[in-house]
């Protein structure tokens, strides 16, 4: 079996599993005042410190959530709402290649709350232009509720010019959020240095458990809460804190950050090997995203390729049957793949977008995984091409 879908989720690091399972056997609500509560609270706060240190933030800036999607929702909806208090600010500036966890809250705000969406264009490799961020805000600064640009794209791996986007917004007093779910633990992500107001991270993409994440939130930034209740997490996000998951998240973050440089370098090497060998097997395949294969421009483990004349669905199924796990990059609740909005925004046709696969490497990836893919990809592409041409041929009645 070759698991090449680490961007979907990556195996838990042993230190994270150990920390999580140890806590599962312990007692205590971190909000309780007695000894058991204090013990649990200590685990949460130590975890908060580790995670804050890992991402260049202060502990008080870490707001735990039930994962990346919740953190993105809190940033987008929470900031949009709080920005309406003083005066109406209908505009949201967002890159057109955001993850659905950002995209859908924005579209919901537009549909039900009268928000005006300004989609920021991307170039052919999927990068936004900071000048457009500046110009759109400058056109009417008072009308902008927030700006959101992801740190690195989950499908094609393109790293966005976050520092330049923040600089473009600086001086207008508009909060800037970035979804760093794919970047955290893999690229250098420093909240303080970035100048961002809010940053989303998720545990399970960096070797921690599923179901826990955080919104790193500047101390002066106060979004309207989505979840009301006991007032945990700065009154921004209520709900009993999940001590075991936070312990696992912290252990994973510590190890991911400590070993980031070496892991990133070996992922880049293995990924580059994967790309060149797949292109050798399928010469007309095309690499999507930034062709500069360094961690400054592209996520280390990401390879995203189009296979002309194939359906991504067919490729995925045929590779799955041969034990190779990968992704078409997007799926909806009923499991029907739509052509990727990311590739469409980059200028692909729907047919090109549907012909794509994402291979993503991670901390357990080996050369043998790549060998398995390389051994299968040629016949699989040939088979998928035959399948597509059979379906697109019109049938007589």
């Amino acid at each position: 079996m070759a698991y090449l879908d680490h961007a979907a989720t990556t195996p838990m690091l042993p230190a994270a599993t150990a920390a999580l399972t140890k806590e599962l056997g312990e007692l205590g609500n971190p909000s309780s005042l007695h000894a058991a509560g204090r013990r649990a609270r200590r685990v949460v706060e130590e975890g908060r410190e580790v995670i804050a240190a890992g991402f260049g933030a202060r502990p008080s800036e870490v707001v735990f959530t039930g994962g990346g999607t919740e953190a993105d929702n809190l940033a987008v909806k929470g900031l949009y709402w709080s920005r309406q208090e003083e005066r109406r600010r209908p505009r949201i500036l967002a890159s057109s290649v955001e993850h659905h966890a950002v995209l859908d809250p924005i579209e919901w705000l537009a549909g039900s709350q009268g928000a005006d969406i300004v989609w920021l264009d991307v170039d052919a490799v999927g990068r936004v232009d900071p000048q457009q961020v500046h110009d759109e805000i400058a056109r009417d600064p008072e009308s902008v509720a927030l700006v959101t640009v992801m740190w690195a794209n989950n499908e094609v791996g393109t790293v966005q010019p976050i520092a330049e986007c923040v600089a473009a917004a600086a001086g207008f007093g508009v909060p800037v959020h970035s979804d760093a779910v794919q970047a955290a633990g893999h690229l250098e992500v420093n909240f303080a240095a970035s100048g961002l107001d809010a940053l989303t991270v998720s545990a399970h993409k960096l070797g921690g458990p599923l179901g826990v994440g955080a919104l790193i939130l500047g101390r002066s930034v106060v979004p309207t809460p989505l979840v009301h209740g006991g007032g945990q997490e700065r009154d921004v996000r209520s709900g009993t804190l999940d001590t075991p998951s936070i312990a696992g998240f912290a252990a994973a973050t510590a190890e991911a950050i400590d070993t980031r440089v070496e892991r990133s370098a070996s992922a880049v090497d293995l990924r580059n090997d994967l790309i060149s060998r797949v292109l050798a097997e399928v010469p007309d395949a095309r690499l999507n995203g930034d062709p500069r294969l360094d961690a400054e421009h592209r996520l280390p483990g990401n390879a995203h390729l189009s296979f002309p004349g194939c359906e991504g669905d067919s490729l995925l199924m045929l590779l799955d049957a041969r034990g190779v796990h990968c992704s078409t990059g997007s799926a909806c609740s009923a499991g029907v793949a739509e052509p990727s909005h990311v590739l469409l925004a980059m200028g692909s046709t729907p047919a090109e977008a549907r012909s794509s696969l994402r291979f993503s490497l991670g901390h357990t990836s080996t050369r043998a995984d790549v060998d398995e893919l390389v051994a299968s990809i040629g016949p699989v592409v040939e088979r998928a091409r035959a399948a597509r041409s059979s379906v697109t041929t019109p049938r007589g009645k």
């Binding site: 669905d313 067919s314 199924m317 799955d320 009923a334 029907v336 379906v391 041929t393 049938r395």
Partner: protein, 361 residues
């Protein structure tokens, strides 16, 4: 064999897939997404388009330990089945969408894709049998006559039949349900799908009215006398007796039936039952499930999915323009036969073929 099992989320396709596994085949499951906007969780199961059905299909695949994928055929389904359904009603005919789906989706687009991807056969939960015959595999009625679905499969031609598996054809429904329960399939007591899968609430008239628009028209008798009004000729089927909304009774109080539907003038003509009697049927677009019938063959005809059969002599007109036409002379008059319906032809339990009715007399 490498078998692609289509799982609708219902009990029949689940047991069919399980039996294919038991027979030693290497089975992969697919659920066909036929609606681009799946309805949210509906109560009861009516077809194959809801999120609940796709979840049920996934759970069946889990229990049988099969790889599971969703194949999106929503565009083709809309074009070939739904649009055709609406257009046929608009033209005053009565289509059978399940038949069109089998013809253009399940045993065409899906089968083609499966073959191209390296599968040897497609397995479904249809109640019909494929039995060996002297000239190759033959399509036969199911053992369970109440559930028999051979009529909606009568459009299949030999290459399609050779690549199809219907593991339920030899069983009765009650046994299939019991088997599903024994196997631990959670869909064992799920209600049967019925009506038309893409009309979630079962309101066919409302579905058609929303697409064709309500249009007032006249109901006349055979002499042209106006007896009433209607909201759209598409709301009627030849042979229909109930729901005509007529207030003028016949002199002898005998019931009236829909005799014909004229879409251009939006007129529905009604009359006595004897005026519905049909002795001869002409049909085109014949498809033979095996070797073509001989001219003059004595066959049983069925012209509705769950209708009775009528004995007839089938003529195959000769001539260049008549290659795909058949004509049938019935032994006894039949009622409620209308252009647009599919005529399925049987030799005892064997399905010989089908054609689309073009005229009756």
């Amino acid at each position: 064999m490498r078998v692609l099992a289509a799982l609708s989320g219902g009990v029949d396709s689940a047991v069919a897939a399980a039996r294919a596994v038991d027979s030693g085949h290497e089975v992969t499951a697919v659920h066909l997404a036929l609606s681009s906007n799946p309805q949210t969780f509906r109560s009861g199961a009516r077809g194959c388009c809801s999120l609940e059905d796709s979840r049920d299909a996934r759970r069946v695949a889990d229990i049988l330990d099969l790889p599971y994928y969703v194949w999106d055929f929503a565009d083709q389904f809309r074009q070939e089945v739904v649009d055709d359904f609406v257009a046929e009603y608009a033209a005053g005919r009565t289509p059978n969408p399940c038949l069109r789906c089998n013809e253009h989706i399940k045993f065409a687009a899906v089968l083609d894709r499966a073959m191209a991807l390296g599968f040897d056969a497609v397995c479904t939960g249809h109640y019909a049998q494929i039995l060996p015959g002297p000239h190759g595999p033959e399509l036969h009625r199911a053992v369970d006559v109440d559930k028999d679905q051979s009529y909606v499969l009568a459009v299949l031609e030999p290459p399609q039949i050779a690549r199809s598996m219907f593991p339920l054809g030899g069983s009765v429904k009650a046994d299939v349900r019991a088997e599903a329960a024994t196997r631990g399939l959670l869909v064992a007591d799920k209600p049967d799908s019925h009506d038309i899968c893409f009309i979630a609430d079962g309101d066919t008239q409302g579905f058609l009215a929303a697409r064709l628009g309500a249009q007032k028209g006249l109901i006349r008798d055979r002499d042209g006398a106006v007896l009433g009004e209607h909201d759209g000729a598409f709301g009627f089927t030849v042979g229909q007796r109930k729901g005509l909304g007529l207030t003028v009774a016949t002199p002898d109080r005998s019931p009236r039936y829909v005799l014909s539907i004229e879409p251009l003038s939006n007129t529905v003509t009604v009359g006595p039952r004897e005026a519905l009697a049909v002795r001869e049927i002409a049909a085109e677009g014949v498809r033979w499930c095996g070797r073509p019938a001989r001219d003059g063959a004595r066959l049983a005809l069925q012209y509705r999915a769950h209708g009775e059969t009528a004995s007839a002599s089938v003529r195959l007109p000769s001539g260049v323009d008549a290659q795909d036409a058949v004509a049938a002379v019935l032994d006894e008059p039949a009622y409620g036969v209308a252009p647009g319906q599919t005529l399925a032809m049987y030799d005892r339990t064997r399905v010989c073929g089908s054609a689309t009715i073009t005229a009756t007399s």
